[in-house]
């Protein structure tokens, strides 16, 4: 048996090695993204700096100024150098540098995911477990139908339906991030409300203004519900099939012959085994959810990363798109690392080497 001290050492070495790997991933992604946007040609890229037809005559000058006619490797190295220094370019949509805009939009998406990720993991695994145990009963059929509906309906349609029912019919849970009067209160009292994290729910608590937190939660309800239902639908089905597979394994019979009650069998023996494949899917879904579901953020008028990315894509805001690709690469590498650590925690057969 490993001592705790040794285990910590192994973990540390493993994590450092994996994070080192992150640099290669970023290098690869940056190469790919840069190559794609390079295919536009110097003139097209110079156009991005031009706002009006009058400025069109400046294009040769711009090409020279930014070195757009330089050979490909020279331009790529220049790009890498700028990234390394933390300069990701200028976002036309946000009208400020990409990094500043990112720091502004990120908390809003994180706030959403702070609710979405734990909820979908808990609900998805619980529902899937029950459906697996009660296979081929009414419970299973009902959850299956709901899962198919939740999964196959497009997110935007789902968001619109929920908005129509709750806001349109009952006047509850309006879109946007805060009610107008609360927003005005924040603007009027910069000394009472200090922005710590950029997340209204947490900042509300930190400032002692629980009204703001409550209001923010009310506004989060519908977007969170939409996201959770869509993701739970997938996760639940994966968990269910994994449960069904594990229940038929021989160790379940051993446990039964031992006289273990069925609750313990399901919760202690089967569930843990069934979780192993589910962790991968849950991790990937959480990473995808970090990107900010574009439809949810657009419809509920939340100015997070998804919203920003959607606008940037429409306006061909290249630097934003290139930055987001790098950001998603980082997110996926980190999530995969967490998944692998969880794997090793749950399954003793997996070794971190």
């Amino acid at each position: 048996m490993l001592s705790t001290h040794k285990l910590v050492n192994i973990l540390q070495a493993y994590i450092i090695r994996r994070l080192f790997f992150l640099f290669f991933v970023i290098f690869g992604v940056s190469l790919l993204v840069f190559t794609i946007q390079y295919s536009y040609g110097p003139d097209r890229r110079a156009m991005l700096y031009v706002d009006s037809p009058q400025q069109a005559k400046d294009i040769p000058e711009l090409k020279k100024k930014y070195g757009l006619n330089d050979p490909y490797p020279v331009q790529y190295v220049r790009y890498l150098k700028e990234i390394a220094m933390g300069n990701f370019g200028y976002s036309i949509v946000a009208a400020r540098p990409v990094w500043d805009a990112f720091l502004h939009y990120l908390p809003i998406t994180i706030e959403l995911n702070l609710f979405v990720v734990p909820l979908f993991i808990i609900i998805g695994i619980w529902l899937g477990k029950q459906a697996g145990i009660k296979r081929n009963t009414t419970y299973d059929h009902v959850t299956r139908i709901l899962a198919i509906i939740g999964w196959s309906l497009p997110t935007f349609l789902f968001a619109l339906i929920l908005l129509m029912i709750f806001y349109g019919k009952f006047g509850l849970f309006e879109p946007a991030m805060l009610s107008a009067n609360i927003e005005a209160f924040i603007l009027d009292n910069p000394d009472k409300y200090i922005k710590y994290t950029g997340m209204y729910t947490i900042d509300g608590i930190l400032n002692g203004e629980f009204g703001i937190t409550w209001d923010a939660i009310k506004h989060l309800f519908l977007p969170v519900l939409t996201q959770v239902i869509v993701i739970v639908a997938i996760l639940m089905r994966v968990m269910r099939s994994s449960m069904v597979e594990e229940i038929s394994k021989d160790y379940v019979i051993t446990a039964q012959a031992k006289g273990v009650d069925s609750k313990t069998i399901f919760n202690k023996h089967v569930k843990r085994n069934a979780l192993i494949p589910v962790i991968t899917i849950a991790g990937q879904l959480a990473a995808l959810s970090m990107e900010g579901s574009i439809a949810v953020e657009m419809i509920f008028n939340r100015h997070g990363i998804g919203n920003w990315l959607a606008h940037a894509a429409l306006k061909l805001d290249t630097s934003v798109i290139m930055f987001m690709c790098l950001f998603m690469a980082v997110i996926f590498v980190v999530t995969n690392l967490i998944i692998d650590l969880l794997y090793a925690y749950i399954d003793p057969r997996i070794r971190l080497t």
């Binding site: 038929s248 021989d250 160790y251 019979i253 012959a257 031992k258 006289g259 009650d261 202690k268 057969r349």
Partner: protein
């Protein structure tokens, strides 16, 4: 002879997409106190299904249709029969693992891959020895040098658990994270006993083995662990479902020795399932031969090997390779029937050399033809 378990006309069906598989057809087996009963037959003839039906651990789509499984419990010197098929789920849970337990054929699959060996063995104690475990934990708490925080609270909890393990408090506690670990002393105690039983089975360094996981052990070791799980609570009846089939010959011999040894010390009877006639000859007192879901012949093992009476038993014994044999191996012609549509009458009649007119019409009953020797064949019918 005192009986320990008896099945009466056990019928088990599997409801598959192809149709209803009639896996067991009126199986009657009796196991007596202090004997080793062997159940032989080719693969798919329903040996495992029989014992699993007895323990009620048939997995869906299987279902025990009818019959009785009588377990004879010693109550004040008098034998009392309990029909296990009529009992509640919770009765079965308290009975399985305590009075009857089972060794499985595939040690690789029979152990939970992500639970430590010690934990899996300890589970038997946790479910059947609650009283003595809480007593031991209380003793530990009462000892002078015991350093457990909140000693008083734990003492009260364990005392209460000792008196009534189904109290509401424990159900509540088991649902609250962190607080559901209140029984850590009981778990430690169970783990200690698990280590003891593992070392009793001749595994060296039992403490080190107990914290390892199934994938760290070899096949023979795993089989010993499976035996340890079954033996934990010293059952009256041990069912060994092809316990040695997947092991190589040396390990097989070791395990059989171990079983013989254990039978002398700890358990009263063994029901041994195998398709290896050599194993039967060596270890069993009485033998039952099964074919296609029904019992054909039951006899003492000397009698069975000396005087096989059922045509199937004869054919089976003839097809065992002999040392001085020359030429092709003798086999039984034909195939095992599809149990969705079993042959009418005697299920062996399509392959039988001594077939008569009656064979495909009537199911033969088990008839006693000698001392402790019964055969289900029309050849021995009323003539």
């Amino acid at each position: 002879m005192k009986k320990i378990i008896e099945t009466e006309n056990l019928r088990t069906n599997f409801y598959t997409y192809e149709g209803v598989v009639k896996a067991l057809n009126d199986v009657c087996i009796t196991v007596n106190h202090g004997e080793t009963f062997g159940l032989v037959g080719e693969s798919g003839c329903g040996k495992s299904v029989t014992v699993r039906s007895m323990m009620r651990i048939i997995q869906s789509p299987g279902k025990v249709e009818s019959g009785k499984v009588l377990l004879f419990l010693d109550e004040n010197g008098e034998q009392e029969a309990v029909d296990l098929l009529q009992q509640s789920e919770s009765y079965m849970q308290s009975c399985c693992g305590d009075q009857i337990s089972m060794i499985f054929q595939e040690p690789n699959a029979a152990l939970n891959p992500i639970m430590s060996i010690g934990e899996q063995v300890a589970e038997s104690f946790l479910f059947h020895r609650k009283k003595s475990l809480s007593e031991a934990s209380l003793e530990r708490l009462n000892a002078q040098d015991c350093k457990v925080p909140f000693k008083g609270i734990f003492k009260n909890l364990y005392k209460k658990y000792h008196e009534d393990e189904n109290a509401f408090v424990f159900k509540l506690l088991s649902h609250i994270p962190l607080l559901n670990r209140w029984d850590f002393l009981i778990r430690q105690e169970a783990f200690k006993r698990a280590v003891e039983i593992i070392s009793k089975l001749g595994i060296p360094h039992a403490e080190d083995i107990a914290v390892q996981f199934p994938h760290n052990l070899s096949g023979g070791m795993k089989q010993r662990i499976v035996i340890a799980i079954a033996l934990a609570c010293s059952p009256m009846l041990l069912i060994a479902d092809e316990a040695t089939s997947n092991l190589d010959v040396t390990i097989q011999a070791q395990i059989l020795e171990l079983l013989k040894d254990l039978k002398k010390k700890h358990i009263s009877s063994i029901l041994l399932i195998t398709h290896d006639l050599g194993v039967v000859a060596e270890t069993c007192d009485r033998v039952g031969v099964m074919y296609a879901g029904s019992l054909c012949e039951v006899a003492e093992s000397r009698e069975l090997f000396g005087n096989p009476s059922h045509p199937y038993t004869k054919a089976l014994l003839e097809s065992v390779p002999k040392f001085h044999q020359e030429g092709a191996l003798k086999t039984i012609e034909g195939n095992v029937p599809n149990l969705v549509t079993p042959p009418a009458g005697c299920r062996f009649h399509p392959r039988c050399k001594h077939r008569m007119d009656i064979c495909d019409k009537e199911v033969p009953n088990l008839l006693e033809i000698g001392k402790n020797h019964s055969v289900a064949c029309h050849l021995f019918g009323d003539k």
